[in-house]
Symmetry: none
Subunit: 215 residues, 4 copies
DNA sequence: CATGAATGAGTCTTCATTCAT
DNA sequence: GATGAATGAAGACTCATTCAT
């Protein structure tokens, strides 16, 4: 870990219950302020105030504002990653037609659980340190997906990691579009079905027995 | 146009050659500062300095910082939209296997022409006014794609606009991932092929003659 | 209170001794800067500097420059109003020849106690929010004077509030002229006598027993 | 004239008709901007724009913003002064009961002819250079009034200039209060009568034959 | 002469961070 | 440990004034 990364690390581990509660409150507060005020007005004072603690105390937990926001973002991403990890292990060895729906469902469930949070954090992800964090967690998720894909009995991927990257980011795109309101309203009900169709079709181009036409 | 949107409008039109040059310099400078310093440090002073003009002059062209950034973003998006529009008209009435590659190629060409610019503007797109702008241009692009899809002789879409939304944002996802460095390095060479594969597979699930196996 | 007025309200109450001292220092500093530099150069930085605090601290007490100046003006006006209120209650039921001198004396004492302050605040009273504030406090003073006049046993006023308005503003005029240096220097010694004469003469035109000629 | 005063002098005399017209347009524009935007936003650019000329041209006529505003204020004050001068000459040698109403009427007519202008200029009068200008013109008016008073056959003033000062500023006070909205609305109709009463009563305390008791 | 774009010093205001209580 | 007042650097934006066209 270089010094830049070190500067974003929390100051203390939540060894005490109180600490954990305070940190949770800070995260929640940060997301609320982010949502209500925007990143530009998401100040330490406001976050602390909403979390019910003093600014001074905030600095007991995080060395600076960016570290707090990074932590919030990280927790969010790690949650998603865990869900992906889990489903990938669960679907290990299963055929594509089972993998795809499971992956889509898991991703949607994780990402849309708290839409406000997901949406608010896009801005954080675009700021200093955000992209690195996202890239890091993303690569972990891609690795999990790649491992899962590699285990599919009915398909063969030249480079599972590339396929996983494309597959995953092809899922991320529509979900982000949904959260940011770039999608027509009608989509809400059929998003999952569409993503399943998209992913399945894509992965099935790698079916092992290419007796039938492909691509 | 409501007053919020009005606040983001440029102040004067570049009727004179000098104005046009100044505005171009401002856009370029903004993107450079964005890239080198990040959105948080992308200040009017810095932009003006890099553009070789005074802050005061900057404010003769844009009423505020957000308006300038919005203009830069808009120009970028409009460029993309024009490319999409064009290819969609060009592929009108062609079958899916021709549409998909053309669309992918056009999108990649437009979006990756200036990677630095594309990448820098993601942060802007996440800020005040950005999402609205993106949504607006996005919907125009989706409409173009939907029209194209509806004209495909070999497929039938229940709701072309939904399919277009998914298709387009499924393209956007991987490209964004690429620009933000979330993709493995090896992908660069095969991104286009992968996206063509993704898009074709997805759209072909809507093939008109389901004599062959699908999905 | 409408939002415009709300924007001029102080941010925190001086509950602590230190706060009260800081606020007092700010008021004094504001008047000094006003006097030495004029309203146009009465900037928050200069006020804070002279008050011996940082600009940031100034903004902990007042949301903006106008609010600070409004507070200074208000305190001044309220002081005058209190003096007027007091003398009006004191003279309740007394005859005109006692009322007039008492009112003049009280007004002069209050307004000329700190000539520098009184003079400096004229500029503030003419700026955004000033006129409203003055009008408001003025009406309170006029009401007090009107009540006093109505209680005079030796006079009868058709509309005490009109008479009070005229009487009061007729006092304000010369005092303002004095403070702004529009009056010849010789006046200083006899101003009070002249104002008493003016006010008494005016009010006595409303004497109850008009056995003698009255205009 | 010291250098400070010199700096406020117009740059060119209105020898040409066009100059005179432009200057008039500038004055009018200045008052409009003053009224609509307030002194703080009464900028040279805005004034020039409203006057239909360019900023550059504005600087052909006045060396700086303050000079323009001073000129506007001066013209206003000189107009009032001329009216006062005129009525004072007209009433020369007449008794108090004729002087007072004439003076009041003349003053009100002059000051209330363009209420917007009168009101707007109070802010200018409070700024740099304003007070001096006002004091200067005021003293000329007071001199005229004093001369008139001294000529009254029915009164004797120990120091006509003091009486004139008080009398004049006692008129100024209520009129200013009216323009700034500090007076009850009902006053509008009876202001003149009240001021006549006020002034007459005051001046009559100096009646030559004190056969009757008065103050 | 008129024009109005350019200048940049100067304002107000915010906010991350510290530290005395 | 907690608090929140104080700090002051930094940013957005304005505007009087100039001068090339």
């Amino acid at each position: 870990m270089n010094s830049a990364a070190a500067a974003l690390k929390p100051r203390k581990s939540p060894v005490q219950a109180r600490s954990a509660a305070t940190i949770a409150a800070l995260h929640t507060a940060a997301i609320q302020v982010l949502t209500r005020e925007g990143l530009g007005r998401c100040t330490t004072t406001r976050i602390a105030e909403r979390a019910g603690i003093s600014v001074g105390s905030l600095y007991q937990y995080y060395p600076n504002r960016d570290a707090l926001l990074a932590a919030v973002l990280e927790r969010h991403l790690v949650g998603i990653a865990a869900a992906i990890d889990h489903v990938c292990r669960e679907c290990h060895g299963k055929p594509i037609p089972e993998m795809a729906p499971a992956l889509v469902r898991a991703f949607l469930a994780a990402k849309l659980r708290d839409r406000e949070e997901s949406k608010a954090l896009y801005a954080v992800a675009a700021e200093r340190g955000g992209p690195e964090l996202v890239a890091q967690v993303q690569s972990r998720m891609v690795a999990a997906v790649a491992a899962m894909l590699a285990s599919a009995p009915d398909a063969r991927f030249d480079d599972p990691s590339i396929t996983a990257s494309i597959a995953f980011s092809a899922l991320v795109g529509p979900v982000r579009a949904l959260l940011e309101g770039h999608l027509p309203a009608e989509i809400d009900g059929c998003l999952e079905a569409q993503l399943v169709r998209l992913l399945t079709a894509y992965l099935q181009t790698y079916l092992r027995q290419p007796s039938a036409r492909r691509r």
